[in-house]
């Protein structure tokens, strides 16, 4: 028993180390790619940074100050050096350090993504498991139909229809934004939690109301993915020789379902959950734009519109790092559930 545990530990360690070793080169590659891309853009960043009414000599001064007169590889190396010191540069548009801009906006995006994933998991996984356990029943058909229908819907269209129905027509929910009136003091950055901490019931309700539509839009898609995944893994495990053997041995169905099928099926679903979180981050960019949600999505679109390339690189790095971080977390979680190793 002890030897087995040690074996699992070492697989786990080697897996995590392997992922950690690849993390910096992955992020470096991402940065290099976006860096090259942002310099292909035929807009002179020095002109933008200097402002509209700057004279030619002022533009030159800005160019020198930001090091924009140096060669591209040199600029990239300088940028990397700054990144390693936790400095992502200054935004030409907001005139704030990028790190500051990101820290203000990350909680909004995370709040939305987490609520959406939570909704999706609460709704999608049980339904998928039930469908998988009762294969080819009416429930299974309904669930499958629901999942393929929701996956085929464009999220921006659903967002628009939800806005149309629930805020324009019925007036039950706010059209856009994150809260009515002044936001509570930022303690966690999650407005709902901050409102609870501030002890303001009205603000809590307002924050929750603002969350409903964007979170539901994002959750619909994720729920459909999770549901398919949970269902298929339940079916895969149920039809495996191991389960056939257990039934032949006369184990009660209840034990087989809870002890074997669910445990094995959930491991695959957890992987999917983590991947969904990554995709939710990018999906939320569109949904944030539609609902005027003040997160990373709006920031990315804004910084690109103003050729604010430091901000573009910052957002890309941030999203890439969050994505990679979620994937790592998933690997670790999966090993905890299913210690057979090698993901």
């Amino acid at each position: 028993m002890r030897m087995r545990a040690e074996g699992v530990m070492s697989t786990w360690l080697s897996l995590v180390t392997n992922r950690l070793i690849w993390l910096p080169p992955t992020l470096l590659g991402l940065l290099a790619f976006v860096f090259v891309l942002s310099r292909v853009v035929p807009v002179d960043p020095a002109v933008l940074a200097a402002g509209e009414n700057a004279t030619a000599s002022q533009v030159e001064e800005v160019r020198q100050r930001f090091g924009l007169d140096q060669s591209l590889p040199l600029q990239f190396i300088h940028y990397l050096r700054d990144v390693l010191h936790g400095d992502l540069g200054t935004s030409f548009y907001t005139r704030q350090p990028i790190v500051h801009d990101l820290i203000v906006r990350i909680p909004a995006t995370l709040e939305l993504a987490l609520v959406a994933v939570l909704l999706a998991a609460l709704f999608g996984i049980p339904l998928g498991v039930l469908a998988g356990l009762n294969r080819n029943s009416w429930l299974d058909h309904a669930v499958r139909l629901f999942s393929v229908f929701s996956l085929a819907l464009a999220s921006f269209w659903i967002a628009l229809q939800l806005q149309f129905l629930f805020s324009m027509k019925l007036g039950w929910l706010p059209l856009s934004g994150r809260i009515d009136g002044f936001a509570p003091d930022a303690v966690t950055g999650f407005v709902v939690l901050d409102a609870v901490i501030a002890g303001d019931g009205e603000l809590v309700v307002s924050a929750l109301q603002h969350l409903v539509l964007p979170a539901a839009t994002l959750a619909l898609l994720t729920a459909a993915t999770l549901l398919r995944f949970a269902r298929n893994s339940v079916i895969n495990v149920s039809t495996s020789p191991a389960v056939a053997y257990q039934s032949a041995m006369g184990l009660p169905r209840r034990v087989i379902v809870w002890k074997y099928i669910l445990r094995m099926a959930l491991s695959a679903t957890v992987t999917q959950l983590g991947l969904s979180l990554g995709f939710l981050l990018t999906g939320s960019l569109v949904v944030e734009t539609i609902f005027d949600w003040p997160g990373l999505g709006g920031y990315a679109v804004q910084s690109i519109l103003y050729s604010d390339y430091n901000a573009i690189m910052g957002v890309t790095l941030c999203v890439g790092a969050l994505f990679a971080g979620f994937n790592l977390l998933v690997d670790i979680l999966q090993l905890a559930i299913d210690p057979r190793g090698e993901a």
Partner: protein, 277 residues
Amino acid sequence: MNRLFRRVLRDRTTMAGLILLSFVLLAALSAPLLSIDPAEVRIDRRLMPPSSDAWFGTDRLGSDIFTSIVLGAGITLLIAGITVAIGVLIGVPIGLVAGYYRNWFSDALMRIADIALAIPQIVLAIALTQAFGPSIKSVVLALSLTYWPLWARLVYAETRSIRNEIFIESAVALGVPARRVMVLHILPSVASSIVVRTSIGVGVTILAATTLSFLGLGAPPPTPEWGRMIAESREYLPEAWWYPLAPGMAIFLTVLGCYLFGDGLRDILDPRTRETL
């Protein structure tokens, strides 16, 4: 092949997908037959609700929404077709090579795939739009640069799993060159997965492409794009409820067709997950 074809005809899911896709294809092909110019502005007819005259209503410039949808079908299929073709052409060879060899090079290839997958599509698309202007070219480039890993990862995983099968090992032992093993022995075994992924991939690509055009990154007007039509309709809600309805349904039915076709095909090709619907 004949048996496969008969099974497709018998399978309801696949047939439903096939019928939906045929409709879209038919619309795309018949578009040149329409005698109406979508760019024509007819202010007297603007924002009319659906009627026998204009089935899906008219838009802010008085154009018939039904006509625009039919015209948009060709553009949508064109973008999705080119993107998916590029994705397959880049992804499949990379997946084969990376799955066949077990060395640092194949590791590096898959890491590049991970990086490409981690690039936020919208960020890339907006950056490309700034370089090349809003156009179909920018959309196709942004999508294919980020989508090829989907095929690479699939082919990689499948190649890895059959790499140690006896028929592959014996081919290698007989001295068959690596390239020949990959193309003649591995590729046919993973082909059905590639077909399924491609059908679903077309659907995913259509969703992404319409999202980009919704954000104003697609072809500029008067090219009728489904995503942009929905974006334009936002100003006229809640009065013009029909305006976003038809383009949204067009996207939904086309993507649904791709998914159903791909799903059904997978069930036919892999009987383990087969079900009746």
